[in-house]
Symmetry: C2
Subunit: 321 residues, 2 copies
């Protein structure tokens, strides 16, 4: 009988799922909407997860009962009772072992470093820093849009809007952001109110971050200041995690959509850390999730095997770094 | 036939309504839940407004058709189409004149200064600065919890939680706030996540501000820093408004629940502005709203009349400054 392993990487903007046959060549990849636990609630997250997983399994050709293990890395899924809720919601998938539910940073870490020491700094819709060393895992940030997520797309987008409004009110220095937001809104800045309080999703707020990138590209000092501050926040998280792990100048990789969208941010974080640049992770987080699922079965996938999983993701266009 | 005037002051935590008989002694006062337009939506705001107004009218003894004019000052109600929406929702009240819907800061300004020049700095669940001079009105801030409201209860409460989490992560200096939030949560700080993303209302976030006040009272430097920064933000708004109005050292009054809850904040704002202290407004915002309603009928209430309205509010415990 065939045995399939399933990995999931679920964040504030999208959910990726990779299903692979262990010791075989069958594989399927699917992408669904956001599955951040606290953002959209457990029920909605469970629904997105089940649908996306079912799609990946169908495209891999897996039959019912052939799923050996499943690992889902979900943004905002941190506390034991959060994990238990999602684990029980994934039970209908009839996975042979209890599904493993972890924070999405955990699967990024597995994709970046396997079990070697290192730190991932993640900035997509949300942000978090997580590192590992000798079996220990430490994290900083990742407290969501209202309590933290400093340096995330949400944070940068919101700071841009706030800076534009401060300039508009005469409470802050003039900035190109006023014009960019006006163009974006096709009207005056008071249109930000219906836009933001409709309410806005974290992912939509994150989309405003590109206006900050655009203004920074034109050397607008306010926008550059926002990117500097955001890079400083992310670097602070790296320092906190490295210190707690006892790592001096750890290997650090950058993960997440905001680093792709704003290359200057990645460079600024590297500079803050005293590095010439930040590497991308070797494997996509969703591949890290499959590796953790393999671990649930006691398997240790070799690099050649993980390379083949990564190719499935790359060929599906699911990993553009 | 009797003629009643109705004033409403609606914010993120509560809605106050005062109905008074013009040239008479009948009066009624009622308090309802939040009616901030963008926070809870137009339909819910309209419902709270109609219910609270009906209660005040009933207790004043007004009969149907006896309402001459109504003025509602609502947090977040700024744009012409917002106002038109609420105005039409108040039409069932059968007010003889079209209801007047304005921002809640506008009625506070009327309560504080009548038509004399001056600036109100408001910090309750939200925050805004508004001033008037020679018929012109200018404002700064008031962009709501996600885009501004710097120095509001929401902002101070959120900054307190963020500072506690930064200390907890090792991303920021240690602070008494960690212990205070732990006591409040009756558990560890990760309980902030279910608390805040349940989701939290702006008013509930504002309630966390008292923990910052408590820590500041114990001379915690992080909490003192939050109050200093918040006072700086509010003073910045006063400067921006005064500059646009051409007012040099304007009369400034403090309005809103956060100033009552955190007396240190009021003192810090005064210090930033170079004043020995900030006065409270002469009349409650809801009395200012009634005065604006009177203006809709061409009436100009004298001080003795406004004093009698204010007494109704004070006797109902609706104004504790």
């Amino acid at each position: 009988m065939k045995e399939f392993l399933v990995g999931v990487d679920g964040g504030g903007s999208k959910t990726a799922c990779l299903a692979v046959e262990w010791n075989g060549r069958a594989a399927g990849y699917a992408v669904g909407g956001p599955s951040n636990y606290h953002g959209i609630g457990a029920a909605a997250a469970g629904q997105v997860l089940r649908a996306t997983i079912a799609q990946a399994l169908a495209s891999s050709g897996a039959l019912p009962g052939e799923v050996g293990a499943l690992c889902a890395g979900l943004a905002g899924c941190d506390r034991a009772d959060d994990r238990a809720t999602v684990e029980s919601m994934l039970a209908p998938l009839a996975c042979r072992r209890m599904p493993l539910v972890v924070n999405d940073a955990r699967v990024a870490l597995a994709g970046a470093f396997g079990s070697a020491p290192g730190v991932v700094v993640i900035s997509g819709t949300g942000s978090i820093v997580m590192g590992q060393h000798g079996g220990r895992i430490e994290r900083a940030g990742g407290w969501g849009p209202l309590l933290g997520d400093e340096g995330s797309g949400y944070d940068v987008g919101r700071r841009g809007a706030v800076a534009a409004l401060r300039a508009y009110d005469g409470r802050g220095p003039g900035t190109l952001l006023v014009d960019l937001y006006r163009q974006y809104l096709e009207g005056d800045l008071d249109l930000l109110i219906p836009l933001v309080y409709r309410p806005i999703t974290p992912a939509d707020m994150g989309r405003l971050a590109r206006l900050v990138g655009e203004a920074a590209g034109a050397k607008d000092p306010v926008a550059l200041g926002i990117l500097e501050a955001s890079a400083g926040e992310l670097a602070l998280g790296v320092h906190a995690v490295a210190r707690r792990l006892g790592l001096d100048r750890p290997a650090v990789v950058a993960v997440g959509g905001l680093f792709r969208e704003l290359p200057a941010l990645r460079q600024l974080v590297a500079a803050r850390l005293g590095y010439s640049h930040l590497e991308w992770p070797r494997y996509a987080p969703v591949v890290g999730a499959v590796a953790l699922a393999a671990g649930c079965c006691g398997y240790q996938p070799e690099a050649g095997v993980m390379d083949s999983w990564q190719r499935v993701v790359l060929e599906a266009g699911g990993w553009s770094q």
